[in-house]
């Protein structure tokens, strides 16, 4: 099957509106490559995004896309997955969308282990609204809404996800598409919830988090790294500064996914079943009505 798909299947005529050099290009590429590697055809996935530079991604590739509203793609994606668990559901949204306005859905998605992949285009700034600090901006970051420098310490996505119960957390970098592809592919393959936080340089509004900044710091977790060791994973997830680890930091395949525990999905996707209640469930109207007599 893998041979059936190629990158050409994912080509789409719309030109990205991203700034030249934007880290989102690499994410688009990495994701497309991962989908191809996994042998997934365009109709087998649905990309759900919010609003932001990064959230425009689904418009630039030939795949099903739902470009929703700011902060809500995880909720939309959860609904998709619960209605059709056979669909490969991937969220692509920015850090403001995912960890700011949408953080509540992020938190609860981790906890419930819903089988979606959340790729966060984490440029640590609000790009589309032209440069305000975001929940992952470093303290002191001077922006249009923090003229004296941001005074909040950043939210740390990976430890937050880990604490919230996520079963797969990973980090990738726009400066290394090939590695990103691998990480995304593993995230999609993971059955439960998976988070890929991507270090995505915003070349226009966040010069302090440039390719150069990251290039000097990132390192890839080696083969000897055991992502199933939770204590190790916590330390690695918290590592940030001179050294920033890339790769799959934590993976736990023992926890059941949310969708596999939903009684109504025991016979497969609800959308594949009849809308006729009697046909679908075998109950009789008579019986239901009798319970009110």
């Amino acid at each position: 099957m893998a041979n059936d798909v190629s990158l050409a299947d994912y080509q789409y005529p719309t030109q990205p509106t991203w700034c030249p050099g934007c880290g989102d290009f690499a994410i688009l590429q990495g994701l497309q490559m991962a989908l191809v590697d996994l042998g997934l055809k365009p109709h087998e996935s649905l990309l759900v995004s919010g609003i932001g530079c990064g959230s425009k991604l689904p418009h630039y590739t030939n795949v099903n896309g739902f470009h929703s509203i700011h902060g809500r793609p995880v909720a939309v994606a959860t609904g998709v997955k619960l209605a059709n668990p056979d669909m490969n559901v991937v969220v692509t949204a920015g850090d403001g969308d995912s960890y700011g306005i949408g953080a509540n859905h992020f938190l609860h998605a981790c906890r419930r282990n819903i089988g979606i992949t959340q790729i966060v285009e984490d440029n640590r700034v609000y790009g589309l609204t032209k440069g305000q600090y975001s929940p992952t901006s470093y303290k002191g970051f001077v922006t249009k809404t923090s003229p004296e420098g941001a005074i909040e310490p950043p939210l740390d996505p990976l430890p937050t996800a880990l604490t919230s119960g996520a079963t797969f957390i990973a980090r990738a970098f726009s400066g290394d598409v090939k590695h990103m592809k691998e990480v995304i592919a593993r995230a999609i393959e993971h059955e439960g919830y998976s988070l890929v936080d991507v270090l995505q340089p915003c070349v226009t509004f966040n010069p302090g988090r440039s390719y150069d900044f990251y290039n000097g710091r990132v390192y890839k977790l080696g083969d000897d790294y055991d992502p199933t060791d939770k204590d190790e994973a916590r330390k690695t997830a918290e590592e940030w500064g001179e050294k920033i680890p890339l790769g799959v930091i934590y993976e736990n395949n023992d926890k059941p996914t949310y969708e596999e525990q939903v009684p109504a999905l025991r016979d497969g996707p609800i959308v594949g079943q009849s809308l006729d209640l009697v046909e679908r469930s075998g109950v009789s109207y008579e019986e239901i009505k009798r319970s009110f007599m």
Binding site: T14, K41, P42, H43, E44, L46, V48, I51, K56, P58, H59, N62, V63, N64, G65, F66, H67, S68, I69, R72, A75, V76, A77, T78, G79, V80, K81, L82, A83, N84, D86, M87, N104, H105, L107, H108, V262, P263, A264, L265, D267, I270, V271, Q273, L275, D276, L277, R280, S281, V283, Y285, I288, K289, F292, M293
Partner: protein, 582 residues
Amino acid sequence: MVTDDMTIVFGGNAGQGIRSTGLGFIKAIARSGLFPFGRQDYRSRIRGGHNFFEIRVARKQVYSHTEGIDLLVAITEDTVTEHLDEIVEGGGVIYDDDLDVDAEEMEEKGVKPYPVPLEQIAMEEGGAKIMANTAAIGAIIGLTGFDISYIEGIIEENFAVKGDEVVKNNLDVANAGVEYVNSHGYSSNYDLEPIPESGERMVINGNQAFALGAVAGGCNFISAYPMTPSTSVLEWITKHSKELNIVTKQPESELAAVNMAIGASHVGARALVTTSGGGFSLMVEALGLSGMTETPLVIAEVSRPGPSTGLPTRTGQGDLMSIVHASQGDFPRIVLTPGTIQEAFQAGARSFNLAEKYQMPVITLSDQHLADSVRAVDPDVIDMEGAEIDRGEFLTEEELDALEEPYLRHKFTEGGVSPRAVPGHENAVYKTTGNEHTEKGDITEDPELRTKMMDKRAKKAKTALKKDIEPPVAEGPEDAEVSLVCWGSTYGAVKEALEKLEEEGVSANLCHLKDAWPLPADPVVDFLEGAEKTVIVEGNDSGEMKKLISQETGKVVDHEILKYDGRPFTPEYIVQKVEEVI
């Protein structure tokens, strides 16, 4: 003389089993062929605080509660204080003789005191204080001559799970209650005669009727966050979700609930969201997403009086304008405003067809009064068997297989509705977006295309109005002296007011909007133009439907009967206000 119509009220504190006792009694009434109307009045607290359950019993179908209490069952002293003035002359109060109530005061008002050692009977015959309610039921039976076998049947069913002994104890308590009343020479003016061979009836409230409509209408997904008075829809569906194969999700918030429903619907589920006003307010942004992406979305908004938290367990009709106009930008939606059990059922069943046929949000706006009031209806009224699934312009697997043109999700068409494919087919890989878009679903900034897309969406409302929005229910003589306009749960009281007005020599008719939006302007205008004197009757303080009618038609209803104290209209109240107007 056989009693045609009477009202029995059970009063006590939250947590004292008032509601379940009342519901059991209602079932018995329904089985006897009589027609009950049960209304719950409760506070936003779990235990304590005066609550009551009011049961009207009539010999014909009724649509509302009425004023005046015939028999009061007082589990607490407060119950007497709160309700004594409402008891009709010749009525009575059943109360535990341990309670500190003033029997003389009752007698002065022409109300009969019926002291009964309810707790003692419960303890002696049943072995548990909680059966005092059953003893009270026994006392009612003794006083009204109601056939105890109906109650016995209910007791047997309700307590079966708790074992034979509990059943037997309750039966003994009930009988002892009857006996006590009889042996103490208590008499009343009431005589509840069964109506034989009336056939089986369902005892059901508005939320349950809506839920049955929804599941018969193909609902296979519900994501909802609890909120009084909508929660029982969620709870009923969830309770049966396993056997009915319905995905149910109680998520972290209403924001999550509505967006999950949009996601589920986007891939083909028939998704329902239930909430009340405050939760709906949190769904406003997503409503626009549904409108813009043309994703079907079904919402049941069971309202309570606002603003804000307001009176969370009471009733009101103050959310109409906010729902009709919610969310930035203009886009079409459908708002149904059922007023009866049947209409609530139908709203549940129709919603999903409407949402899929027109690919837009469909909101059923009901309220606590309709939601919680219990009535007995003919099983045919809950016509689950007759519910048909119509997905509208929905491309089947086969049609998609045969597709030759590139698929255009938002294709321009005559009626504005574009054939819909759900994601997952090779021939229909597509995008959609809350941004303005092309037929294909790509973002556009083109002014002409934008205008055409706005027109396309607006056209769907016109199509829906023509094909699916049902005209108002009209009742009463055409050339009436006074014409009442109403919507939603208020219909019941207005309908009964008509009869009472007729009795008093006032000829009145009514126009009940069960489908509120798009407003069926033509029949409304006809009604108003044909009327001598028009009066709006609604449960809010700004006259929302009155305004909506003016907004859409330029017609101004002459008079207003408004009520916004959190309590439902009674026919008597309407009659009195109508008489003030004419």
